[in-house]
């Protein structure tokens, strides 16, 4: 029965194409933006676990 519903919608085949294109555009968009991030900011972020504000930085062993 759902085949009848789906068949009755005009040009339905375009919707999955739209969702695929949308998905890819967003994915590629984010990818490009991330690749272009400034290295200096990245360095600060990735060091965060290693600099945690403890006064006593005694590291046993």
């Amino acid at each position: 029965m759902y085949r009848q519903i789906l068949q009755s919608i005009q040009n339905i085949e375009i919707w999955p194409v739209i969702s695929l294109v949308l998905f890819f555009l967003i994915f590629i968009g984010i990818l490009i933006k991330v690749i272009l991030i400034d290295k200096k900011h990245i360095r600060k972020m990735e060091e965060l676990p290693l600099d945690d504000g403890t006064i006593n930085n005694q590291s046993p062993e």
Binding site: M1, Y2, I5, F27, I30, L31, K33, V34, I35, L36, I37, D38, H41, I42, K44, M45, E46, E47, L48, P49, L50, D52, G53, T54, I55, N56, Q58, S59, P60, E61
Partner: protein, 708 residues
């Protein structure tokens, strides 16, 4: 820029660490018990509380919620304070979180062996406990987000995104899957039925894996691996990409638990496709972890912490490749319902969750007690025996899963089943069950050794309950020039909302059509609601956790249809399950599928089989259920069951419950007289009669009626 002095709360972390170790030992011991019961059924002890069916969910709940749950809280509470340079938002909430969680565990430990269960996997705890879980989870969330809001470090490191995604998604999953209609204080029926219930359950179940077993642990990996290796992660940029991809894609994968089932095809296909896509973000995480050690692999040779963490991440990589492979329909056709799935679960559970927890504990305890690990030798021993344990667990299960599946499917040259007796396929793999128990025993031994090591470490050190720290106060204005994702990281509330949207998309797209479009569940005229007596029987089936070993889903394969429905040759249709609140498709066939068992055996066969399975099936590993013969059903309680079912959509006529007692007596009398014809005397209201009524109903709705 003033330097503020404050203190990190270590006491709460210590409490969660102790709980983690205790429940790790308990959960593994219960697991070992379950494993042993499969080749030594005497270990069921002939008691209702210790049957395999009730022990199995006790094991899964203990490991997932008590072991991994406590470990997650320990690891998160330690790391989140230090990453944000702020003490936890509220000490009171921290302790409510801790004690609340342990109380929930206690209630699980009591209720599950008593048979108080919803039957839904990893959601077995009944509705009052579900409410408690929701409350404590909210407490955790307030504490987590509160800490983020009072942070001194403006930007949220990647581990924190994973913690936020965990909090948000587990909340959504738990609430949606727990929609249930209470019947009594300790019993409820799932709001959903049949195919829809199956979809909701496995959306929940798979995402419990994703957002309780994976995302928090990826967060922990992003903190503890750099700490242990003393170097930053390989690629922060990669962590951004794989985080968003992971949380978006994971949600859609739920239907891969329902391949070749009565779930509509389009939903199955979505599940498969997205499961394959999931390899990319999962391996992004794995590569980020492993490559963090590039150029520093000599450290790995020396340090047991790194050994555990690296094997954990490797096991994560293996599981997240195997999972997508198992999501391909052709592979799934072989693997579903077999030990292969169990192997897969345990590579992830023992390897990823277990080993990462151990690595984290070996790093945390010396740190928090300001001393060095008591014995590096013992830690290395733990590593090797644990690794051996994983291998002895997984390899026998691969062998048994594959072998049993092929035995199920094999036909002779004449075109009949090569192994028509299901039990034959079980007996052949018993040696594999023994090897698996050895594996579990090795793994548990390692954990015991770790417990000793950690206790000796703590004894030799000096615990610091509140650790002094200092950091500049948060700058008033956000920096002007910054990249867009950093802006996202700086606005935790917006981040949380976006993460929530990302995880809701998959669920909505898969749920809405399945629920709304009627044709997804084609109606079958002859399917009728269960009778009062059958409802009692069904509830007994759930209480005794029969679904832990028996499935109720005949797949559209010739081998299954011939084995389970030789007379009618019908695989299981979606429309047959419309009144099944909850669904009982099961996920493992330790015993045969039961969906078409109705009418297959006489009532007396079931009587003897439940009293002592070996009388009907020699060498059966199924436990005995003698208490069903002494206990009576609660006839008064029938009305409540009917009313509850009616409320959630089962079309019982109004007033049905008034004549229920009468109807039940009639139906029971038929069974009693059938049994007495075979020389058996039984009370009409005994539980065994109700159970027989239910079993004899299964799958008969679409049977072509022949002359009785």
């Amino acid at each position: 820029m003033s330097l503020e002095k404050f203190q990190y709360d270590n006491k709460i972390v210590k409490a969660f660490i102790i709980a983690t170790v205790i429940f790790g030992l308990v959960g593994m011991l219960v697991g070992l018990t379950a494993a042993t019961q499969l080749f030594y059924p005497q270990l069921n002890l002939n008691l209702p509380f210790t049957t395999f069916g009730r022990i199995r969910p006790l094991h899964t709940n203990a490991i997932i919620f008590a072991f991994v749950g406590n470990a997650m809280f320990a690891g998160i509470y330690y790391s989140v304070q230090r990453l944000l340079k702020a003490r936890l938002f509220s000490d009171l909430l921290s302790w409510i979180n801790f004690w609340g969680w342990q109380l929930i565990i206690l209630s699980a430990a009591i209720s599950l062996p008593l048979g108080i269960t919803t039957s839904k996997e990893y959601a077995e705890l009944e509705w009052p406990i579900d409410i408690a879980i929701a409350l404590i989870w909210v407490v955790f969330g307030i504490n987590l987000i509160g800490t983020i809001l009072k942070r001194r470090e403006r930007h949220m490191y990647v581990a924190i995104w994973f913690y936020i995604a965990t909090f948000v998604t587990v909340a959504v999953l738990h609430i949606v899957n727990s929609f249930e209609m209470p019947v009594t204080f300790l019993k409820s029926y799932s709001w959903y039925a049949g195919v829809q219930d199956a979809l909701v359950q496995w959306w929940y179940g798979h995402n419990a894996v994703a957002f309780f077993l994976t995302t928090p642990y990826l967060g922990l990996m992003y903190y503890y691996l750099p700490k242990a290796a003393n170097r930053p992660v390989y690629s922060y940029k990669l962590s951004i990409i794989h985080f968003w991809a992971l949380i978006f894609v994971y949600i859609w994968a739920g239907p891969h638990h329902l391949l070749y089932s009565a779930l509509p095809d389009w939903a199955q296909s979505l599940g498969t496709v997205f499961s394959i896509m999931l390899i990319a973000p999962s391996w992004g995480g794995m590569l980020n972890g492993l490559l963090t050690l590039r150029g520093a692999w000599d450290k790995f040779r020396e340090d047991p912490v790194l050994k555990f963490l690296v094997v954990a991440v490797t096991a994560y990589g293996m599981s997240t490749f195997e999972g997508p492979m198992l999501s391909l329909k052709n592979v799934n056709a072989i693997a579903h319902f077999t030990d292969w799935i169990i192997a897969h679960v345990h590579v992830g559970g023992l390897g990823w969750n277990g080993f990462l927890t151990f690595g984290m504990l070996y790093w945390l305890v010396p740190k928090m007690w300001k001393t060095s690990l008591y014995s590096r030798k013992l830690a290395n021993f733990h590593f090797w025996i644990g690794t051996l344990g994983i291998i002895f667990y997984a390899l026998p299960m691969y062998f048994s899963g594959f072998t049993q599946s092929l035995m199920w499917k094999q036909f002779t040259d004449q075109g009949v089943l090569f192994y028509p007796n299901f039990l034959e396929t079980v007996i052949q793999i018993i040696p594999m069950y023994m090897l698996r128990a050895v594996g579990g025993g090795l793994y548990l031994t390692g954990t015991i050794v770790m417990t000793y090591n950690l206790i000796k470490t703590a004894r030799a050190g000096k615990f610091v309950a509140n650790e002094e720290a200092e950091a500049p106060a948060l700058e008033k204005a956000a920096p002007k020039e910054t990249y867009w994702h950093r802006i996202l990281e700086a606005k935790p509330v917006m981040f949380t909302v976006l993460a929530l949207i990302a995880i809701l998309i998959g669920g909505i797209i898969e749920f809405v059509p399945t629920f709304l479009i009627k044709s997804n569940i084609p109606t079958i005229e002859s399917v009728k609601p269960y009778s009062g007596l059958e409802l009692h029987g069904r509830d007994i089936y759930i209480r005794e956790a029969c679904n832990s070993c028996h499935s109720q889903l005949v797949r559209p394969f010739r081998s299954e249809v011939v084995r389970y429905d030789p007379n009618n040759m019908e695989y299981s249709k979606a429309g047959e399950y419309v009144y099944d609140h909850p669904f009982l498709w099961g996920s493992k066939r330790t015993g045969p599928d039961l969906h078409r068992v109705g009418g297959k055996y006489p009532d007396s066969w079931h009587y003897h089989h439940m009293l002592d399975p070996t009388t009907m099936s020699p060498n059966s590993i199924m436990p005995s259920y003698p208490w069903l013969f002494d206990q009576f059903i609660d006839v008064e309680g029938t009305a409540a069951k009917i009313k509850a079912m009616r409320t959630i959509g089962v079309p019982y006529e109004l007033g049905f419950e008034d004549s229920a007692a009468e109807q039940m007596a009639l139906q029971a009398e038929t069974i009693v007289s059938n049994l007495s014809r075979d020389g058996i005397q039984v009370h009409r209201e005994s539980e065994i009669v109700a159970l027989i009524a239910y079993l004899q109903r299964l799958g008969t709705d679409i049977k072509v009626k022949t002359e009785e």
